[in-house]
């Protein structure tokens, strides 16, 4: 069965690459361009993994992460947070509120693929 991945990021320039990459890796990919859309799609599609950007319009990644973790129906959704901010306090916060992994931009796409595999493995 094909694993489903949701890319939640408002930055088109990263979405292009990550979407291409994940498709090439054989995943079913959908995209959300802001926080609210992301949450709606998580609820509707129940993806196996969300690649979640922190800084997004309408709802930020931390809020989405907390809402997903508060919803028992979404217990199976894994979350990999992607952020352009490298402060370790933020990493700690993301992991504390329930993200499964955290990657800081600029990241290596190879590492991203490995991390995704690991999370879905």
């Amino acid at each position: 069965m094909t694993r489903k991945i949701l890319i939640a990021d408002d930055e088109q320039n990263i979405v292009i690459s990550v979407e291409f990459l994940m498709k090439r890796e054989g995943y079913a990919v959908s995209v959300a361009a802001d926080g609210e859309e992301a949450l709606t799609k998580i609820r509707a599609e129940k993806p196996d993994l969300v690649l979640l950007d922190v800084m997004m319009p309408k709802k930020n990644g931390f809020e989405i992460c907390q809402e997903v973790r508060a919803d028992a129906a979404l217990a199976g959704v894994r979350i990999l947070m992607l952020t352009a901010r490298g402060r370790d306090t933020e990493v700690a916060k993301g992991l504390a509120i329930g993200a499964d992994a955290y990657m800081t931009k600029p990241f290596s796409t190879r590492e991203l693929v490995e991390k995704v595999r690991e999370l879905l493995g």
Partner: protein, 706 residues
């Protein structure tokens, strides 16, 4: 022949002896006769003879009494006068013995006079030294870049400098910093108390006592405060504090600069992550999947292109920002370009013997420049032009171009090679007599500017062009209020050290010890109860019998009603001057704060007070301060004078009135008159506030009502 007192004495004594001998002889003769003839009237004759003899003796002894008794008394009186006035001498009276005493007294008086003169000279010298010290202190304080405030233990300010006033002032015509004022109008009492506790503890422990704190003033400035104790009179533990010094640094700007620099770094590092991430991902896709279609490849390339463009712009912006920050680190002055040129021209003429003319100068140009080094650059280049190219005149011009000021040092004729310009730029300027190892290049870098050589073939002109960063044009600084009245501001008064909060009841306090706010108002008319309003309030302060002409309140007020033509003729305030001025409701709180803890003094105070009191209900500001009236005090001093108008009594006291019928001008005059009144009142036995108040109440004028 005149007889001296000594001879008179001998003669009188001889006469007395002769008279007594005669008397005895006559008595014996009479007794002898009565024994012979048993006469009847013997007793009567004897009485007569004795009476005559007594009279004779009295007459003879009178000069003697004069000599022995009167002359010493005279001498005593004169001596007493001489005791009171060391310039006086006694006149010799009486005999030579007394004359000798008088001489001795005069010698004593002369010695004393000499001694007194020595002491007076010594005091005068000491006072001159003290005055010189004070002047030096005042000059030092004025020049100090740091803000200094000295307070006694009650937090009363007894010294401050101009910088401190700038840093601490809250604007709006109010004057939070002033001699004798409470520091706690500016700082929280608890904060200072805490710092003083710390300092006291350290003092007792024998440690370095100063302490540092950072605080925000009520006006919103961020200050670093260095608080150090001022030694008081030595106590038993040897560590008494008499007051404290505050050194203030306004770190608001530094804080902002640091904040900006942080933001800059932040935007470079953190802000770069996103775009870099996008580029990296796209690039890795391109290299990892060479099999992708042309359309996909195009999309990835587009991502890289746009992100790289974005990053380049960001880096360029950061570099500009950083350059601005760098400039801020050098001690660059903001200076009017025209002023710099005005300084440069005579300097070039004098140092290089080269006439320097000024061409077109844009007066509006302000620039940031290290003016000292830059003037050296201009002189250095001029000198080399003269020495090496025989240039006999240079011209200076100034214009603005974009973000920069263009200053041209131009001459006629000779062009020069790029190599020459380069070497002039890089040589230490010492080579042409300027005392600095810096090169032109270094100075220009320091000023964040550029310079190059250029030439206009058509006009045969060559010039060095200097590009210097523009500064925001600064508004001309308002002259210090009251600055015209005496050049040295009264910024300190160490006598305030001995002040104490534990003041006596006001009535018992000497007039000379009180702090006064002398004020005056200009109004639309004379009937406050009939709608007339205040249009100007001017006030100054008296502390320790000194008129503090630099601590003033000077505020126009929009009366919110038309200004009668007749009143304009008196005060000269026209309606257009009142446009945009605050209304009385906004002015009175600031004025009340200015008056805090003082006695109000005004000429015909009842009039001004009536205006203030009529506003109490509307503003909630109560002027419940004690009041003295110079009009009433004038009536106390000179009850027989016809007029007690301010200009009349000012003339009577020899006070010149500058700016009569401006509120501040009249307040100054009132204050000076009041100070002249104090000693005269004291002569009348009126020394305390209570005595002055009671005396004033008794005068006729006190019964007038408004």
């Amino acid at each position: 022949m005149r007889l001296g007192p000594g001879r008179k004495l001998v003669l009188a004594a001889a006469l007395c002896a002769l008279a007594i001998a005669g008397l005895i002889w006559v008595t014996v003769a009479v007794l002898h006769l009565t024994a012979d003839a048993s006469g009847r009237d013997t007793a009567a004759v004897l009485v007569l003879i004795w009476l005559l003899a007594s009279g004779g003796a009295f007459a003879a002894l009178r000069p003697l009494a004069d000599l022995i008794l009167r002359a010493p008394m005279q001498l005593a009186e004169e001596t007493r006068i001489a005791v009171g006035d060391s310039g006086r001498r006694v006149r010799p009276v009486g005999g030579p013995e007394l004359s000798a005493v008088a001489e001795a007294i005069n010698e004593l008086a002369a010695r004393r006079q000499a001694l007194e003169e020595d002491v007076a000279a010594e005091i005068a010298r000491a006072q001159a030294r003290l005055e010189a010290d004070r002047n030096r202190l005042a000059a030092l304080m004025a020049e100090l870049q740091q803000s200094v405030v000295v307070c006694n233990l009650d937090g009363r300010i007894l010294l401050y400098n101009q910088r401190a006033r700038e840093v601490l002032s809250a604007g709006a015509g109010s004057e939070p910093v002033g001699l004798g004022r409470s520091l706690y109008a500016v700082f929280e009492r608890g904060l200072i108390a805490h710092a003083l506790d710390q300092v006291g503890r350290r003092l007792r422990a024998g440690e370095t006592a100063a302490c540092e704190l950072v605080t925000a003033t009520r006006a919103g400035r961020l200050l670093r405060v260095h608080l150090a104790p001022v030694a008081g009179e030595a106590a038993d533990d040897g560590a008494a504090m008499g007051g404290f010094v505050l050194l203030l640094d306004d770190i608001t700007a530094a804080f902002e600069t640091e904040g900006r620099r942080d933001a800059l770094i932040q935007s470079l590092t953190e802000g770069g992550r996103g775009p870099l991430g996008n580029i990296r991902a796209a690039a890795e896709m391109l290299s990892a999947y060479p099999d992708m279609g042309a359309e996909e490849r195009g999309r990835f390339l587009a991502v890289i292109r746009s992100e790289v463009e974005g990053l380049s712009a960001r880096v360029a912006e950061s570099a500009r920002e950083y350059a601005r920050e760098l400039t801020a680190r050098w001690p660059l002055e903001e200076m009017r370009g025209a002023d710099l040129i005005a300084a440069a021209a005579p300097r070039i003429a004098e140092r290089c013997g080269l006439p320097a003319k000024t061409e077109e100068v844009d007066e509006s140009v302000w620039m940031k420049v290290d003016s000292f080094s830059f003037l050296q650059v201009l002189c250095y280049l001029s000198r080399r032009l003269r020495d090496e190219y025989g240039v006999n005149e240079v011209r200076l011009a100034l214009s603005a171009e974009g973000d920069h000021a263009c200053l041209d040092l131009a001459w006629l004729g000779t062009a020069m090679s790029t190599e020459t310009v380069m070497s002039w730029e890089l040589d230490p300027m010492r080579s042409a007599g300027e005392e600095t190892p810096l090169s032109v290049r270094e100075v220009m870098e320091r000023c964040n500017g550029e310079m190059w050589f250029q030439r206009k073939r058509a006009s045969h002109r060559a010039y060095f062009r200097f590009l210097l960063p523009l500064a925001q044009a600064r508004r001309p600084q308002a002259a210090a209020p009251g600055g015209a009245r005496g050049s040295r501001p009264e910024f300190y008064d160490f006598d305030l050290f001995s002040w104490s909060e534990k003041s006596h009841v006001l009535d018992d306090r000497p007039l000379a010890d009180l702090t006064y706010t002398v004020f005056d108002t200009e109004t639309t008319g004379l009937e406050p109860s009939n709608g007339d309003e205040i249009i100007q309030i001017g006030a100054t302060r008296i502390v320790n019998r000194r008129l503090l002409t630099h601590e003033v309140f000077d505020q126009l007020v929009d009366p919110r009603r038309p200004l009668p033509r007749a009143s304009v003729e008196i005060h000269g305030i026209t309606p257009d001057m009142l446009v945009g001025q605050p209304a009385i409701g906004a002015v009175l709180p600031a004025f009340r704060a200015f008056c805090a803890d003082t006695v109000l003094v005004a000429h015909n105070a009842a009039f001004d007070m009536r205006f203030l009191q009529l506003k109490e209900a509307a503003t909630g500001i109560r002027f419940d301060l004690p009041v003295l009236d110079t009009l009433l005090l004038s009536a106390v001093l000179h009850p027989n004078q016809e007029s007690h108008r301010l200009e009349v009594i000012a003339e009577r006291f020899g006070v010149s009135v500058i700016g009569r019928h401006t509120a501040l001008g009249d307040a100054y005059a009132t204050g000076e008159v009041f100070l002249k009144m104090l000693p005269l009142l004291a002569d009348m036995g009126i020394r305390t506030f209570g005595e002055a108040r009671r005396a004033a109440e008794k005068t006729y004028y006190a019964r007038l009502a408004y």
